[in-house]
């Protein structure tokens, strides 16, 4: 049996769940979706790709809580050590995967891009290496978003629902207090035809004017990868990727971005990707349509001159 942990937020099932369900269906040993929450029984109709649903509802599960979810899943999945458990390599999944591995004593493999009964592939070292791990018997796979098609697992239906009760969750040391919506930024990068996106290769905040000029000349928006936001050089609303926004512009110019899997997740569906990066082994070139290893500080001003 393959157990897929359903991820949902604000009443919406996340794509990663459908991606995992679609893959799990092809593995041939039956699929059980595990759905935790409160008042979420209506979501089971979207889990038609699963043969069965294990449903656990409790007021303490109304919002994701690392401790309550780990405790509940450890109780529900106790004794399933010979089965495969799939969880997203997401913010929620990064609590659940290691939490279940520790609680159940099951092996855990992270950054998973493919899996079977005998081997599991992970993308490590920022996507620069693939690693194949041998497995026999049960394991937990923490699956990277975008590894499988969501369409294959997004099937409505009425799988059999088995209701299970939650353990006592009244005294958790972690309490959910509220959900904070993203701040609206000065630009909506998901609405632009052209994005000039900047990464660590820009080196410092002052150098941003180099890419800003290019963005201005193209009437494009300036977006970025994670390190730029962590350094507070640009606002969170401009971040492309896993914890930022997914974008699909006509043209995406990646300047000094190496292409870590978390970034690729947010931009790989752009119509035309142009990558400028001095590292010829940067994973971004695997996803780009055009690339150059010329120094961005030479190429970008030269492009501006020609616009």
């Amino acid at each position: 049996m393959v157990y897929v942990i359903v991820e949902h937020i604000k009443g919406q099932i996340e794509d990663i769940t459908f991606e995992m369900l679609g893959k799990a269906k092809t593995m041939g040993s039956g699929v059980t979706a595990v759905l935790l929450g409160d008042g979420v029984d209506t979501l089971t109709g979207q889990l038609g790709a699963a043969d069965a649903v294990l449903l656990c509802q409790d007021p303490n599960l109304a919002n994701f809580n690392p401790e309550a979810f780990c405790k509940t899943l450890a109780s529900i999945l106790n004794g399933k050590n010979d089965d495969i458990i799939m969880v997203g390599n997401t913010s929620m999944g990064m609590e659940i995967g290691p939490g279940l591995s520790a609680a159940l004593g099951m092996p855990l493999i992270s950054y998973v891009t493919d899996l079977s009964d005998t081997s599991v592939t992970s993308a490590l070292y920022g996507g620069k290496m693939s690693v194949q791990s041998g497995v026999s018997g049960g394991y937990i796979a923490s699956v990277m978003a975008g590894s499988f098609s969501a369409d294959d697992g997004n099937i409505s239906g009425s799988p059999g629902v088995e209701t299970v009760s939650a353990p006592d969750l009244s005294n958790t040391k972690v309490r959910f207090t509220r959900l904070i919506e993203p701040e609206g930024g000065d630009v909506d990068i998901t609405q632009h035809d052209v994005l000039v996106s900047v990464g660590r290769g820009i080196q410092n905040e002052d150098n941003l004017e180099v890419v800003q000029e290019l963005a201005d000349k193209l009437s494009a928006a300036l977006s970025c990868s994670r390190p730029i936001v962590d350094n507070k050089w640009l606002s969170k609303s401009r971040q492309v990727g896993k914890s930022g926004l997914k974008v699909k512009p006509k043209v995406y110019i990646a300047v000094g971005i190496s292409g870590a899997p978390e970034h690729i997740e947010g931009m790989k569906d752009a119509e035309c990707i142009i990558a400028i990066n001095t590292d010829e082994n940067a994973p971004i070139f695997d996803y780009a349509h055009y690339g150059t290893t010329e120094d961005l500080f030479d190429v970008v001003p030269a492009i501006c001159e020609r616009l």
């Binding site: 994701f64 913010s91 939490g99 690693v131 207090t177 055009y290």
Partner: protein
């Protein structure tokens, strides 16, 4: 309050990665290592708490036979009160499960209210350390944390979800937090200050072992991912390339 920060070194991805002879690991002989960037953020988050309200910050690392001393001295130069090297058989690659076991044996003796470490590392094939460590220590955990507000024996923390959404939680100490980003850019420390720290700082050594604990699965092979069709690489001078890029952009009707 006592804060323990766990740091480790990872291969510097700026360098070309080569495989070992059996194709099951990186060739570590010539690899350049650096402190995991998220661990740097974890240290910064701890130092910000110390700056704001006072805290005793201890930085801990497994002795991996590399230049971990330098990383610990740099942490001391930045403001860590104590630096600890966990000695044992940790050369080469150490799985997250094994690291959690070894650190889980050492950290209780340091009296931690709060343990901070990076949200992830580029090599944690068997899962991220923070939550595994929390289980070893019997502590609460929240990972992917971007903001920590300490109040008494608890903290309000922000956990980042996709699309910029944030979950806010109240966490009772003792707890382990996996840090995605500190509220400030990790502070820079001049080389001269690190040199001074090398003279003035004593690295405490505590031994531990993680015997019998491994990742639970074996690496069969490691390889450079097969690139799809890949990018068409533009050649010529910067000017030629710039002209070509302008053509491509214009060709998309932009």
């Amino acid at each position: 309050m006592n804060i323990v920060v766990v740091i480790k070194q990872v291969p510097d991805l700026v360098e070309e990665l080569e495989l070992n002879d059996t194709g099951t690991d990186l060739d570590r002989e010539w690899l350049k290592f650096k402190v995991n960037e998220f661990d740097d953020h974890a240290l910064e988050a701890a130092l910000l708490i110390k700056d704001a309200q006072g805290a005793n910050v201890t930085v801990v690392a497994l002795d991996n036979g590399l230049d971990i001393d330098k990383a610990l001295y740099a942490a001391a130069a930045k403001g860590a009160d104590r630096v600890v090297k966990v000695t044992g058989d940790f050369e080469g690659y150490v799985s997250s499960h094994a690291a959690a076991k070894a650190l889980g044996a050492v950290i209780p003796s340091l009296g931690a209210d709060l343990v901070l470490t990076g949200v992830q590392a580029v090599d944690d094939r068997d899962g991220q350390l923070a939550v595994l460590l929390a289980h070893q220590l019997g502590m609460a955990h929240v990972t992917v944390v971007t903001d920590i507000n300490v109040s008494g024996s608890a903290a309000t923390v922000h956990k980042e979800y996709g699309g910029g959404m944030i979950g806010e939680f109240n966490v009772q100490f003792p707890a382990v937090l996996g840090i995605q980003a500190a509220a400030e850019t990790p502070r820079y420390v001049p080389v001269a200050k690190v040199r001074r720290a090398m003279k003035d700082t004593n690295i405490d050594e505590i031994s531990a072992d993680a015997a019998g604990v491994d990742a639970g699965t074996e690496v069969q092979k490691m390889y450079k991912p097969e690139t799809g069709s890949g990018a068409e690489m533009l050649s010529g001078s910067a000017e030629d390339i710039a002209s070509r890029i302008v053509e491509i952009i214009r060709g998309k009707g932009v």
